[in-house]
């Protein structure tokens, strides 16, 4: 069973008189354990696609099935639960809480998991958060606040937050966009490693060079999928 299956997704935005087709009959499937990049120029609809895959937004038309379950009919609460349990987000601007330490930032999703699973004690949360920080190589920086960390470290905190609940799917939206090339390379290596450990990674980028790091590249233009190819193993 495919992890993600979308068919004929459509999403239209109106800006004044102009109608923008952010998604125009987009279809594909992503298997569990894959590393996929979605590439295209800005405004091609890749971010909209990402938001829909992450259950932050809904398509106007079309089907989206996550782990075999159609998501169109889900309530707001059920979507929140799926985001919490199955999906991890990594954003271009990190989106960390500025006043909270790295540890508190990583713990945050678990706080909401406690609503679904009563066994989440504060001690267990702390352990899981520390493990996640260790996984991204930041176990020495847990008490630092975001403004005390470098860009690359901040993004690693954000990745730890995405991983803390052991999601099936990690969605990354231009994860290297705000980083220097060295830090960007580190983050990409981290994604490759996580993928090799079994995490499904879907990464959106406008940079074809970065997109090439994925095992599969989906190219988009004006809301349509123009290319979908698997990179030959190098």
């Amino acid at each position: 069973m495919a992890l993600i299956e979308i068919s004929n997704l459509r999403k239209v935005f109106r800006m004044g008189d102009e109608v923008i087709h952010a998604l125009d009959r987009a279809s594909f499937t992503i298997e569990e354990g894959d590393f996929v990049s979605i590439v295209g120029p800005s405004g091609c609809g890749k971010s909209t696609l990402m938001n829909i895959l992450g259950l932050l937004d809904s398509p106007d038309e079309g089907q989206y099935t996550l782990e075999g379950h159609p998501v169109q009919t889900l309530s707001d609460n059920q979507r929140a639960e799926l985001r919490n349990q199955k999906i991890g987000f990594v954003f271009q601007t990190f989106n960390l809480l500025p006043r909270a330490s790295a540890l508190r930032n990583v713990e945050m999703p678990l706080v909401y998991s406690a609503s679904y699973d009563r066994s989440f004690s504060p001690v267990k949360m702390r352990e899981m958060a520390l493990q996640a920080l260790d996984r991204v190589g930041l176990s020495q920086r847990v008490a630092h606040k975001p403004n005390e960390l470098s860009g690359g470290q901040r993004q690693r905190v954000a990745i730890a937050r995405a991983l803390v609940n052991r999601p099936k799917l990690v969605l990354a939206d231009e994860p290297t966009g705000n980083l220097d090339s060295k830090s960007g390379q580190d983050i990409l290596q981290l994604f490759e490693r996580l993928n090799s450990e079994g995490v499904t990674v879907v990464m959106v980028t406008h940079d074809p060079k970065i997109a090439e790091r994925a095992r599969r590249v989906i190219a988009m233009l004006d809301g349509k999928i123009t290319e979908d190819r698997r990179r030959a193993h190098s």
Partner: protein, 400 residues
């Protein structure tokens, strides 16, 4: 989201904006403080007056000429027609079984003069039984004996009046001029102090008939009596009513008041006053609540991004609502507690400075003070919290 986590978040946000939180809380501090203070003052006034009344003795019975209008509960209206006379007092003294003492009283102002010293005092005309009725103690000389009641020109000076006229000198046997006519001083009362804003030490006492002559009036100001015991007060009232009605040709043209009924009226009025004061203070709670709502709305807007992040990682609308509501409640509860603590301490300080007027906050005030501040937090926190919960995640994430 576990309660513990909600509280931690509320506290974190509180500490992150100390100045703003402090200023917002000021509204609640003042609001709760005002409620507690005003209720305490009202309560203190009631306790003070109650104890003063009780000091006068609860066996005290007053008869005033004129009938009290039962509808308006207004004071007795003394018409020229309705009057109480010394014959009424005699009848009560002879016929009543439940009275320990009874006297007719005259009351008015008079100037008392010795040499070049003049004191303007209140003049109270009564018979010898007044000492029993009002617990008057004599320091020097004696009070009127039954024989002098006839209307001789004798006078008993209140403690302060004697001081003002004679300094340390012994006034017994001296002559004083009351409204121009000479009276001999036969006694001085012991110092009794203020009670109900009325100081017995400032009075001048003369026999009833003497007072009638001085005021040129044969109508009594009223009758004062003391029941034999607290339990016989009601019987005494019935008895007085019966005797006097009979004497007044079957017409009840007078009003019998007991200390107890006056006390009750007073308590009703003062109790009402306490509630009114408390109610006025509640307005400041509303103002405080609006302040909290205002800051919460600002906070929601400022933290739109945070709301987006939280929603993205799995917070439900309810979780966001709880978080912001908890913050509003925390603000108002902490503010309320400070206001409560401050105002209660203040009432204790006042008590230390002036123990006579005990306005220490009653213990029960904690319940409404906390309840109302929590309620204010909920009431004025719900709207901003709902607003926060309903922000679209995707818009919130884009918010800069």
């Amino acid at each position: 989201m576990p309660i513990r986590e909600i509280l931690v978040l509320a506290l974190e946000s509180f500490l992150a904006n100390k100045l703003r939180s402090g200023l917002t809380m000021l509204g609640m501090i003042i609001g709760v403080g005002a409620v507690v203070l005003l209720v305490s003052i009202g309560n203190g006034a009631r306790n003070y007056i109650t104890s003063e009344f009780e000091g006068l003795g609860t066996n005290l019975i007053s008869v005033q000429p004129g009938r009290t209008d039962k509808k308006t509960m207004g004071p007795p209206v003394g018409g020229a027609k309705e009057k109480l006379t010394l014959a009424d007092v005699d009848a009560l003294e002879r016929q009543s079984l439940n009275l320990e003492a009874v006297t007719g009283v005259m009351f008015g102002s008079a100037s008392v003069k010795v040499g070049d010293r003049t004191v303007n005092t209140s003049l109270l005309g009564s018979n010898e039984q007044l000492t029993v009725i009002l617990n008057i103690r004599i320091q020097a000389g004696e009070f009127f004996s039954p024989e002098v009641e006839s209307g001789r020109r004798v006078v008993v000076l209140g403690f302060n009046v004697a001081r003002q006229l004679f300094d340390e000198e012994n006034p017994i046997g001296k002559l004083v001029k009351i409204n121009g006519s000479e009276h001999r001083v036969i006694g001085v009362t012991a110092k009794s102090g203020q009670s109900l804003g009325f100081n017995m030490d400032d009075l001048t006492f003369v026999p009833t008939r003497t007072a009638m002559r001085l005021f040129n009036d044969d109508r009594l100001f009223g009758i004062r009596a003391r029941a034999k015991s607290r339990v016989s007060v009601d019987d005494a009232v019935a008895e007085i009513t019966e005797i006097l009605t009979h004497r007044h040709n079957g017409e009840e043209d007078f009003t019998v008041l007991t200390q107890y009924s006056m006390l009750q009226t007073m308590e009703t009025i003062l109790g009402m006053l306490t509630y009114v004061l408390g109610g006025i203070a509640m307005i400041s709670m509303v103002v405080g609540g609006i302040g909290i709502m205002n800051i919460m709305l600002v906070s929601v807007t400022e933290r739109t991004k945070e709301i987006g992040i939280r929603r993205a990682v799995g917070a439900r609308q309810l979780d966001i609502l709880k978080q912001f509501l908890a913050e509003a409640i925390a603000l108002s509860l902490i503010g309320g507690s400070i206001g409560l603590l401050g105002s209660v301490s203040l009432t204790y300080l006042v008590y230390l400075a002036a123990p006579k007027f005990d306005m220490r906050a009653p213990v029960w005030i904690m319940i409404p003070a906390f309840g109302i501040s929590a309620l204010t937090g909920i009431l004025f926190g719900v709207w901003p919290a709902r607003k926060a919960a309903r922000i679209e995640t995707i818009d919130a994430l884009r918010f800069e």
